[in-house]
């Protein structure tokens, strides 16, 4: 995408204003509880249920606090400032009909829609193996090959499937995120999916939790795929069936929404101020229910 520089600046300014408005929007609309939510998950302390983020497609609407934790994205910001294309490396596969093949394309489109006048160059890679095994090493090779500004990493599924030691997973993830950041490359983590049969699996919950802890410790944005899907699972959609059963339908919905959810977390993270200041209630991990609490 190449446009006149003046147009770029104007559009960037419009984006920032529009983005700020959008960022505030969920809070403003929190008072008006959407009537479509029949059985939203209850938050501890009996706080009133949040409405879904209205900037998302209706079927993908999840409240911000259950969708992301935000942090600064310095490398992407620098690319925007230099008016050069943003190189993105998306890692991790998905599995719903039509979702996987189109996820990188959808993500690229959604990012370009959200960041008008910015050229997003998307490279997508599957990463086999466990982070606690050889996958962390292979990821380094991929990053060296692509040299992106931003890595969007769906992480945890393979380690959870192999039931690797949680601490080994967390350490390897932490070390890898640190390494990516040490080369001035931004990272957005996406935690593994929610599905009913794993809701009470303590091991699985601890994997999800350790992704969250690493994101908080290393101050990288996180897309709460687990929380978002659990939220969507609680919505009234029982009329809509799926030939493979409800969990598969939910999974497909989650994957259809994934590009939007990731984009939302990135757009809002880009609005994080450069100085030490943080947007209250945004830069720190949102107070969401932890999977292990259930």
């Amino acid at each position: 995408m190449s446009r006149h520089p003046a147009t770029r600046v104007l559009l960037a300014a419009a984006l920032l204003c529009g983005g700020t408005a959008a960022a505030e929007e969920p809070q403003a609309s929190r008072q008006a509880v959407s009537p479509t939510i029949v059985s939203p998950p209850t938050l501890p302390g009996g706080s009133p249920p949040e409405a879904g983020d209205a900037s998302l497609s209706p079927e993908c609407r999840v409240p911000g606090s259950q969708l992301y934790t935000l942090a600064k994205l310095a490398a992407v910001k620098a690319a925007l400032k230099d008016k050069r294309p943003v190189r993105v490396l998306a890692i991790g596969g998905t599995s719903a009909l039509g979702a996987s093949a189109t996820y990188p394309v959808k993500l690229e489109n959604a990012l370009e829609r959200s960041l008008p006048d910015v050229d997003v160059v998307m490279e997508a890679r599957g990463l086999q193996g466990e982070v606690a095994g050889g996958a962390a090493e292979r990821l380094r090779g991929m990053v060296a090959e692509v040299e992106p500004d931003l890595v969007i990493w769906q992480v945890g599924t393979h380690d959870a499937l192999a039931r690797v030691d949680v601490d080994a997973f967390a350490d390897a993830l932490d070390e890898t995120v640190k390494w990516i950041k040490s080369h001035d490359i931004d990272v957005v983590l996406v935690d593994p999916l929610y599905t009913a049969s794993l809701a009470d699996d303590a091991y699985y919950s601890s994997i999800v939790r350790s992704v969250r802890e690493v994101a908080a410790r290393e101050q990288v944005p996180l897309v709460l795929r687990y929380e978002a899907l659990r939220y969507l699972a609680g919505r009234t959609d029982k009329g809509e069936g799926h030939m493979l059963g409800r969990q598969f339908r939910l999974n497909e919905l989650g994957l259809r929404c994934l590009a939007e959810h990731v984009t939302r977390a990135i757009t809002l993270s880009l609005l994080q101020p450069d100085a030490t200041g943080t947007v209250p209630g945004k830069a720190t991990p949102a107070p969401v229910t932890r999977p292990a609490d259930r």
Binding site: G93, T94, S95, A96, L97, G98, A99, S100, A101, P104, E123, A124, R125, G126, Q128, G129, E130, A132, G133, G134, E137, R138, R140, G141, M142, V143, A144, E145, E147, T157, H158, D159, A160, L161, A162, R163, V164, D165, W179, H183, P192, L193, T195, A196, S197, L198, Y203, L244, G245, Q247, F248, L250, N251
Partner: protein, 363 residues
Amino acid sequence: MREPNAIDFWRGLALVTIFVNHVPGNTFERYTYSQYGISDAAELFVFLAGWSIGIATRGRDGVPEPRLKTVLRLFSRTIEVYRAQLTVMVLALAMIAGTALVLDNPLILEWHNAGTFFADPIQSIVGVALLSHQLGFFNILPLYVVLLGAAPLFVLLARDSRTMAMLLSASIYLLSLIEEWNLPSWPGQGDWFFDPFCWQLLLVLGFVLHDWNRESDTLRRWSRRLFPAGVVIVVVGVVLSVLEIRPDPLAVPEPRLLFTFEKSYLTPARLVHFLGVLLAFGPVYPMIAPRIGPVVRYLARLGRNSLAVFSMGSVMSLAGQLLRFWTGGGLLVDVIVVGSGVFGLGFTAWFVEWRSRKPGQRA
């Protein structure tokens, strides 16, 4: 059936190691030699495949078989391996999908690269047939198909000049490292897990070294002299892998693949380590073989039937992974998984040999 020998023994050991390493997270994984070096069982497996081609394409008297026969033999083997890959892929995908359905758990569909297949079966089934869509842990046979397909070129060239064959192979290897040539994955982006342009070097090396070893004892003399170097390399490998010291791929000079430890490209560090392992462990077989008879017989039987054993091993290791996930793992489950795997590999090898006997000879 041929008597146990060093090649079959080491190949059998590589097969068992690959099986254990393909059930990630299991307790026994940390006791395999792959955890204590830069290279692993994959290098051994491909090198020995090259060595075996050397054996297979000559008569017992050492006279090379006619060229056309060699080409047809390798072509036939390529088809066999391709067929095995298609079979294990279908079984693996069915096992993953079946487990997801039974456990009502879509997470399982995201098993290493399987998600792409289930998300996009129309493109992926073409990719499976073209070998460009590979599941994680199911990447060796596609490499093997390409290597065997290209083998006649090197084998026939080596009949005229081993040096030429080796030079051609090494040039392709170096150029691929510098230019980062690899075959593409499709559907999706990215490349093959095992880059055939790089890994062909080991197959050709295995073949050429066998040929050279047959003609003169220079190789044997030099490997004895270089034994201490091999031991040093192995020790350095142990230290580097235990302390997790490896180069940062973003900090090394260009061309970076000459300096990193990446498995996909059989980078020089891996190659040197593997050659060190060969030098250090080459003399081991004659020393231990008389003492561990049953183990030698078991491993050599696996090695004699490597394709069937490898294929069954792939399927069984996947079953082991799914079982570990379903049950939550633990030492007992690991003992059951690895124990039944070791038995299953042995049974597969025995069964293949039983089936290949003439009907009257079957016990």
